[in-house]
Symmetry: C2
Subunit: 201 residues, 2 copies
């Protein structure tokens, strides 16, 4: 089977962990009755596991337990690659970095563990400046504990999809890399102005 | 059912179409035997349908036909929202724009239609500068036609997840908006330096 092309796969687990830590908002997919349930949540990586929390009213919450199967996507940067950036003749394509994981998920019932994991996750997300610290005695935190559930995913399968023009001559691979950096620095302001206009005070 | 919160949902179809056109690299999910198959491909929107192409060697290709169910995610910008950006007391959160669609997918067998749709897609992706034009007589294009299949998705359900701090006081909603713009302009260069180092010439 000629798919996916080997040069677009990266099996270096350290690279995949870097994606997970740099782009922690995961897409979590469970399946029930042949239908996917999809939720977007930040996950914290630790020793082959992923920790997260879900709104108890989210129908997906009922599936994040009991050693159920779960699929997780972490999405790094992406961009359209115009053939105009290459020195050789190529067809248009999209480059991207995605990590696909499979795992088994358990619910963690302890409210003490839930509270600590929220504090740990906040510390992770606030790095490196730590402009905010989630304190254990924060009253909003305690009120929230009844409305979220904690889960832990044991990762059973790792797949690194690093589609980055690796099969081109080195100067073209570097051109594609520069394009990825450039596109990912474009401002989203014009897009936001079209789809989201919060009211003035 | 108190989920998802109504203020985080946007039912304006024009906003969702803007996300689809601005962030066309979609995550396509099919389910077979209770397992998800996931492929990341650009899709072109037209009159309630989405057109795409898939590598014939991709096992997912076999499911993109026969009026099968399909779920599609389009992912707009996202960012961690530190409570430090607000003037009021809040808990940490992630903001994001995602569009979730459900549809029915058919294979389009005609090679002429496939060729034209690749030219149309390239024109769409090259806008507005059109530095590259995919010509009908491009020899690489003709050689490729045997290795990809075209599909067309009829959208049956639209869901706009615009989680953007809409329930906060307006000055805090605007602060979250500015944070989304700021974070999405940070350079990805350091991250790429850690996970992808193409060889020198």
């Amino acid at each position: 089977m000629n798919y996916p092309p080997k040069h677009h796969q990266d099996n270096d687990i350290n690279h995949m962990i870097d994606v997970i830590k740099t782009y922690p908002l995961a897409t979590i997919i469970s399946v029930k009755d042949n239908q996917p349930l999809i939720t977007h949540l930040p996950l914290v990586y630790k020793d082959g596991t992923l920790i997260g929390h879900i709104d108890i009213y989210n129908p997906h919450a009922k599936l994040l337990k009991d050693n159920n199967d779960v699929t997780i996507i972490f999405a790094g940067p992406e961009c359209y690659i115009s053939p105009s950036i290459y020195s050789t003749t190529q067809l248009p394509t999209w480059n991207y970095i995605k990590v696909h994981l499979k795992g088994k998920v358990q619910a963690i019932e302890s409210k003490a563990a839930l509270k600590q994991s929220l504090i740990t996750m906040t510390e992770f997300l606030e790095a490196p400046e730590y402009k905010y610290v989630l304190e254990p005695d924060n009253p909003r935190l305690d009120r929230n504990l009844d409305y979220i559930e904690m889960f832990k995913i044991e990762i059973t399968n790792w797949e690194g999809k690093f589609k980055l023009s690796q099969d081109k001559k080195p100067s073209d691979t570097r051109a594609a890399r520069e394009e990825l950096v450039r596109v990912n620095q474009e401002s989203i302001k014009q897009f936001l102005d079209r789809v989201f206009y919060p009211s003035k005070d």
